[in-house]
């Protein structure tokens, strides 16, 4: 019997082996899986961002449930007429059921927050990048994002990565010998590493010697990073192999061996045909 679990296992095995087939060489299986991965990821992120953030947090603040905010004023009535216009457009001019703009407003907030018109307008500006004549408006949205991110990161980075790190690289001479030696190594490594990246003075004499020490510290760091990178990649390979092993059992209708043989045969045919085409073109 074929269940959803078995189908998903077969899809998993097929896509994993398609990606692994790149180890032989670039081929149609790999390209198909790669394109599918990029497309599915982009689609998923777009949908989830809309339903988790844009719909509840932006539209929800602009048009909260009318029961909570209706003061009987004409302005509120007009405001919710705009809401209904958006709903009419989003439902394909009334063809589809309501989804983005539910009946009577979006639940979650208890007052209309007009400040959220700013991100709404900036969001529209961003989409206008697709219209060549109005594409320049997207710069306003990008400028806001860059400015906001710079401001937001400035304090966090300065505090956690600069001030606290400087404080931590100071040597505590009241502690035990091991800690003092460790502190000295960190101190020398920090200073010499910084000197290596200081280009305003020629690296000669004492500056040259210190920058050379800096190189050694940097090399140790890069070596450690490389080691961890290898470890990480091997871990991922083990993880995938473990799934492939699990899915090779009779419970999954021998998904792994069947698809593996299928891909090998297809790659062999594709490779032979490729060689023949090459021979024909050179002849």
């Amino acid at each position: 019997m074929i269940s959803a679990e078995i189908i998903s296992a077969w899809v998993f095995v097929l896509l994993t082996l398609c990606i692994f087939s790149f180890l032989y060489k670039d081929n149609p299986f790999y390209k198909a899986a790669e394109h599918l991965y990029v497309g599915a990821s982009a689609g998923y992120v777009a949908v989830i961002s809309f339903w988790q953030q844009v719909q509840p947090n932006m539209f929800g603040r602009l048009w909260p449930s009318r029961v909570d905010v209706d003061d009987g004023s004409i302005f509120t009535s007009v405001w919710y007429v705009i809401y209904e216009i958006f709903n009419f457009i989003s439902t394909g001019f009334g063809i589809l059921d309501r989804s983005i703009f539910p009946e009577g407003g979006i639940k979650g907030f208890e007052e209309i927050r007009f400040i959220y018109l700013i991100p709404f307008i900036l969001g529209i500006f961003m989409i206008l990048r697709l219209v060549p004549k109005l594409g320049w408006l997207a710069r306003w949205a990008i400028a806001y994002i860059v400015g906001m991110a710079a401001g937001l990161r400035f304090y966090g980075y300065l505090n956690s990565n600069v001030l606290i790190q400087i404080k931590a690289s100071a040597i505590d001479f009241t502690s035990d010998w091991g800690t003092i030696v460790n502190g000295l190594i960190i101190f020398i490594g920090t200073i010499s590493g910084l000197i290596y990246f200081f280009y305003s003075t020629e690296h000669k004499g004492i500056v040259g010697r210190l920058s050379r020490i800096g190189i050694y510290f940097l090399m140790i760091k890069f070596g450690a990073s490389f080691g961890f990178a290898v470890m990480g990649r091997i871990s991922l390979l083990i993880g995938q192999f473990n799934y492939l092993k699990d899915y090779s059992s009779s419970a999954y209708n021998y998904a792994t061996p069947v698809i593996l043989v299928f891909i090998i045969i297809c790659l062999a045919i594709w490779s032979i045909m490729g060689d023949e085409n090459k021979n024909e073109s050179t002849a």
Binding site: L23, P56, M148, L152, V230, I234, L236, G239
Partner: protein, 294 residues
Amino acid sequence: MEIMKRIFILLGSLDRRIIFLIVGLSVLIPLLKPEWVNLPIRPRPESQIVFNEINKLNEGDKILLSFEYGPSTKPEIHPMSIAILKHLFAKNIQVYGFALWPDGNFMSTEAFSEVSHDYGKKYGIDYVNLGYKPGAEAVVKGIAADIHALYTVDLKGTPINDIPMMKDVVNVENFDFVFSLSAGYPGSTEWVQYACDPKNIPLSTGVTSIQVTDILPYVENGQIRGILAGMPGAAEYESLVEAELREMELSVKPGKASSMMAAQSIAHVMIVLFIIFGNITYYITRKNKGEDKI
């Protein structure tokens, strides 16, 4: 000596696909026959610190568990999630799940459903899964300031005001501990910079191997309390939690990371051998060409 030289030169000219095959086999054989390689798992100090910090929490304490990984890094991080949830649920600690990555939703849902049933934990009372919000550091900043302004509903679409365990939670300051399961940006660094350093909330992390050297400076000076480094870190934590569960006389299911460590060790040995052979071959080839005189 000449024969050895020839062997090394031959090794140097091996087709890369043969090397891939050897690495593949070195991973596959220990997975198929784990009894052939039986290596002990000894927790490193960084993993022990993480365990001790979580073990110090009391019944009823609140922990923010952030899922910042996806299927591509699942083999490294997911065993940590499972081991940590086992530890937390065994100690009756309330768990609040968040996700800074869109795929984190899948990972958190899978982890909670895998562990909560074994410990008889109820959604909304013992644990909650608030899910993903786009915005990276802005989301962390939002959690640090006001969770209710950022999250109106949980991952299932339930209004968070209707969830019992959300009633007395306003921001990150209401948590006793933060744990980041991180595979990159946004992740542990953002929790340090925008929530835990400014608000002085204890933070630990479990990261992919590739991130370890970037996160270690925070660990060294106490901004992050201990670190679970990749799959070995997960295996070490699993062994610590299993020992703790045995002590608490609770049922113990073996963790996944521990079962994969044999393959990891053999693959590392193979890669180290390849690096050594590669360097010797390079040295011999260069010497033969007389390049070392230049």
